[in-house]
């Protein structure tokens, strides 16, 4: 039982140690490798030698020494190969000290912004965030993402190369950029959560829990930006979704729709924490997409049964969400909310207005929703036809089976 406790101690220290190194020595790319090696050394030595009195100090010392070694051999190699090691000092690195001091806040946040830099590919952002911020080893990241270790190594080194070449300094983005950059950070965390939540494939015992990791990171960001309603919203959305995890799959691993889930298996602690976050954040003014989705999840999670769901409130929340988040999924979910709140006929009327949008009309979910509403109205033939139309538009076999089973059940 000592192993998970060691991890719990080590992993939150990862970004702090990396931050300390990069502040003092620069070289984000090499420093990240050095920290990774220090973490591995700690995981190997501490169980035998005992945990040092100052774990963070130990890691900083070991990582600094390792960084010095790595830089030495790098510099020696460059000199041997007579490689040019110069870079032009970019004007944005010559910032005024006063400006920098005002936001000297937190290394962890700076690292998050670096790892989720818009110039990196999404796959690289995720891999680098999990390693540099989450303190996962390359092998663990690979297992978590169900990709080969080489792939993760490549994604991380490519990401670091990009960071190096674009001369991204170790500092918070300017106030003007902050909102856009934070949106990318949150999106990366959301993708990590989804990756853990959606995929049920793979040897789950061996697989680090990405949903839990995403929640841990979101909690960290929330701790740093307590006043940000979207950060609170994202954390709440994760908690309120994760709360239903146990009830989400049946004994055979099949997906159980929310309306049919055994709500006694929902996690009351996560639900309470999620609802508290939503309530607190909603009081702070205009709600963004994560907070609205969390608010919708909160309505579901606080309803004692599917029948008692406050669909009128969900409809109002989707109305707001549709204004700021113009995606097929939001539009179709809004149709479902309208149908549940005001009846299937109202839902079908709204659905008809979406048909002109090609993005939606080609989506299998459009036909699945229509089939469902037709079924509610007792129009069996039309419903079966729509289920079939939906099934032919999805490549996912589990979904095809589900849709055809629904059609057969009518």
């Amino acid at each position: 039982m000592t192993e998970p406790r060691l991890e719990d101690l080590l992993r939150p220290l990862a970004p702090q140690v990396l931050g300390a190194l990069v502040r003092r020595y620069g070289h984000f790319d090499t420093a990240e490798d050095a920290v990774q090696e220090a973490l591995i050394a700690a995981a190997a030595q501490w169980p035998a030698d005992g945990i040092p009195a100052n774990p963070k100090g130990w890691l900083v010392t070991v990582a600094s020494r390792r960084l010095t070694d790595l830089l030495r051999s790098e510099q020696a190699r460059r000199r041997r190969e007579d490689e040019v090691t110069e870079q032009v000092l970019q004007s944005d690195r010559v910032a005024s000290a006063a400006d920098a001091a005002a936001d000297y806040a937190d290394d962890t946040l700076i690292l998050l912004f670096m790892c989720a830099h818009p110039s990196l590919s999404q796959a690289s952002q995720i891999a680098l965030t999990l390693r540099a911020l989450g303190g996962l080893t390359t092998a663990e990241v690979a297992r978590a993402l169900l990709v080969p270790e080489d792939t993760v190594t490549r994604r991380i080194s490519r990401a670091k190369q990009t960071i190096k070449e674009s001369g991204i300094g170790f500092r918070l983005p300017s106030k003007a950029e902050r909102a856009d950059r934070l949106a990318v950070v949150l999106h990366v965390l959301y993708l990590i959560f989804n990756e853990g939540y959606v995929s049920t494939a793979g040897p789950s015992l061996q697989r680090p829990d990405l949903a839990a990791e995403a929640i841990r990171l979101a909690r960290m960001v929330h701790g740093l930006l307590l006043d940000d309603a979207e950060v609170a919203g994202l954390l709440a959305l994760m908690l309120l979704t994760d709360a239903r995890r146990e009830a989400r799959t049946g004994p055979g691993g099949e997906l159980v729709p929310m309306g049919e889930q055994d709500r006694r298996r929902w996690d009351g602690v996560e639900i309470a924490a999620g609802i508290e976050l939503v309530d607190g954040a909603l009081d702070r003014g205009v709600a963004g997409p994560y907070l609205l989705q969390a608010a919708i999840a909160a309505v579901h999670d606080s309803s004692p049964s599917a029948d008692m769901t406050d669909w009128a409130r969900i409809e109002r929340l989707y109305d707001q969400l549709a204004l700021i988040s113009d995606t097929p999924v939001v539009a179709l979910n809004r149709v479902v909310a309208v149908a549940m709140a005001r009846g299937a006929t109202s839902g079908l009327e709204l659905l008809a207005t979406l048909e002109a949008d090609r993005r939606i009309a080609e989506d299998h979910r459009f036909y699945a929703v229509r089939a469902h509403l037709l079924e509610m109205l007792g129009r069996a033939d039309a419903a079966r036809e729509s289920y079939e139309a939906a099934a032919t538009r999805t490549g996912n076999l589990a979904q095809q089976r589900y849709l055809r089973a629904r059609a057969a059940r009518i």
């Binding site: 020595y25 620069g26 070289h27 020494r65 010095t68 830089l71 030495r72 790098e74 510099q75 020696a76 000199r79 090691t85 110069e86 870079q87 032009v88 000092l89 010559v94």
Partner: protein, 138 residues
């Protein structure tokens, strides 16, 4: 008047002090502890006599950035020193009665404990500090 006393070391010296086996000098933990104790008492005495203005040690040469203007642009080079190049390792700013007194102080540094091979080639420099532009131009 103020003087600067400076000491020098190579990257290899730093590595050796960090406990890494080196070609010509092996620092044992005892050597290192003895050097630390020497420096502490050296600094304390200077402080007590009122002659110490400031003293600092510098991190390993590998952590050096050099900035030069090239084609009108500031250019940064990481790690400009060769492994064997002796570079500034630490300094003392002392305020004392004369160059001779500053030299006496610096001479004490020649007794810093350490491996013999290091003692054999270590040195300290003393230079008067220019206090103002007027003094420099005067």
């Amino acid at each position: 008047m103020k003087f600067m006393i400076s000491t020098y070391a190579t990257q290899a010296d730093y590595d050796a002090m960090g406990g890494k086996a080196a070609a010509d000098a092996e620092w044992t933990p005892e050597d290192f502890a003895a050097m630390g104790a020497f420096m502490e008492s050296f600094n304390r005495e200077l402080d007590e006599s009122g002659e110490l203005v400031e003293t600092r040690g510098l991190d390993a040469p590998v952590h050096t950035r050099r900035i030069q203007l090239k084609a009108g642009l500031p250019v940064v080079t990481d790690g400009p020193y060769a492994e064997t190049q002796e570079v500034l390792a630490g300094y003392w700013i002392v305020e004392c009665a004369s160059f001779d007194r500053a030299t006496e102080i610096a001479a004490r540094l020649s007794t810093i404990p350490g491996p013999e091979s290091v003692q054999g080639r270590a040195y300290a420099d003393v230079r008067p500090i220019v206090e103002s532009r007027a003094e420099l131009e005067g």
